[in-house]
């Protein structure tokens, strides 16, 4: 239930507006959309687990929940850096595939957003892992569809004023209409 709703109904891009920057920025090619999606899932899972553990066992124990924003962003920023160096050492192949997208993720609001959403929804650890995984998959899924549409768009005659970002946004709106109808399933 959590999985399905995170994947389709609460789709992070189209209904919650998180991660729009990479959505518009890197979705011009299918390969880069895939790479970015994978990198986001990877980082999101690690950072959500770490921030969840930190929040429940450190911040709540000492009654300093108001430090949430500061702690989370620092954890995410340093985690991204760490993942990058770690991947470079351990698995150069994976690093080559995800490498250029990793630094971009620090400023991806989806990662911080999901970390905060996990806390404010009051999930336990297992629910949190499921939710985060499927949010990430939803991100990948929509990015991939969107990048396919944009590849086709390159060959289509588009009015001059709509070139680039405006037409991409209109297409995103059409995708969002489709996804908003899925809400009726449950």
């Amino acid at each position: 239930m959590i999985a399905f709703s995170a994947f389709i109904i609460e789709n992070i891009i189209l209904t919650q507006f998180l991660g729009i920057c990479p959505f518009m920025g890197v979705s011009t090619k299918r390969s880069s959309a895939l790479g970015m999606g994978m990198a986001v899932i990877f980082v999101m899972l690690i950072s959500s687990s770490v921030t969840w553990l930190l929040y429940t066992f450190v911040l709540e124990t000492f009654n300093i929940e108001y430090m949430r924003t500061i702690v989370f962003i620092l954890v995410i920023a340093s985690l991204v850096q760490m993942v990058e160096t770690f991947l470079k050492k351990v698995s150069p192949a994976l690093y080559k595939a995800l490498g250029i997208y990793l630094p971009l993720i620090t400023t991806n609001c989806a990662v911080l957003g999901v970390a905060i959403l996990n806390i404010s929804k009051g999930y336990n650890f297992v629910e949190m892992i499921v939710y985060t995984t499927f949010i990430g998959l939803g991100f990948l899924f929509v990015m991939y569809i969107f990048s396919m549409m944009r590849e086709k768009l390159d060959y289509s005659p588009v009015p001059k004023a709509f070139k680039g970002a405006p037409i991409a946004l209109v297409i995103a709106a059409i995708l969002a209409i489709i996804f908003s109808r899925f809400g009726g399933i449950i």
């Binding site: 680039g164 405006p166 908003s180």
Partner: protein
């Protein structure tokens, strides 16, 4: 560049939202009503102006600057995150409705590219006074942009314009006059993308027109 130009560039020439396409996530999410857009603007204004000021104060002090330079991004993030926490707590204490409406997007001001972008691109290499002016201009330019989107969306979606609480402008008579219903789609997520896309296209069209005019004048004069 004089002070007035520095202030005004945030509105049109370097508008963070429409020209640089920075900070899109919150601008799509909180523009369901004018009230939310105004609240968001105040939050961004506070954070952006103070972070610009503090960072340029740090960086214009030669001793501190040497110390901070290698770790400047984490330093910026800590400064910004502290300011955002202040905003969050103040909103929670005094305007709880707004706090609920904006939800996760208040802590997300931290990762708003505009703020970190201005810190890196402007505040770190300019004087405190100029950075302060830059911050005010950029924040107001951003505010004007999200208010424009929210006016568009709230008017088409509900036929009203909420300024603050009960202070509401009821424009439904226009819809009654035209004998149509407000288009509820515009206050749903779908409308955000559509409205932003259309406004952006409109602005591009105006800009293109302006450019063409300038080009014609040049050729006529030459």
């Amino acid at each position: 560049m004089n002070k007035k130009e520095n202030f005004l560039k945030g509105f049109i020439k370097e508008n963070p939202l429409f020209v640089s396409l920075l900070g899109m996530c919150p601008s799509l999410a909180v523009t369901t009503s004018l009230e939310n857009a105004i609240g968001m603007t105040m939050g961004v204004f506070f954070v952006l102006v103070l972070s610009n000021l503090i960072i340029s104060l740090i960086m214009s002090n030669p001793k501190l600057a040497v110390l901070v330079k290698p770790v400047r991004i984490p330093v910026y993030i800590v400064v910004i995150a502290t300011l955002v926490t202040i905003v969050e707590m103040v909103m929670h204490a005094f305007v709880i409705d707004l706090y609920r409406a904006l939800g996760v997007f208040i802590p997300l001001i931290v990762v708003n590219c505009i703020i970190l972008g201005r810190a890196e691109a402007f505040a770190s290499s300019n004087k405190p006074v100029d950075s302060l002016i830059d911050g005010v201009g950029m924040a107001l330019g951003y505010g004007a942009a999200i208010m424009l989107i929210s006016i568009f969306r709230e008017f088409l979606g509900k036929g009203t314009l909420t300024i603050w609480g009960d202070l509401q402008l009821n424009l439904t008579f226009i819809f009654n006059f035209l004998k149509i219903e407000p288009i509820a789609m515009f206050i749903q997520p779908v409308g955000a993308f559509l409205a932003f896309g259309l406004i952006l296209a409109g602005i591009t069209a105006i800009a293109n027109n302006h450019k063409n005019k300038l080009a014609k004048e040049v050729t006529n004069n030459g």
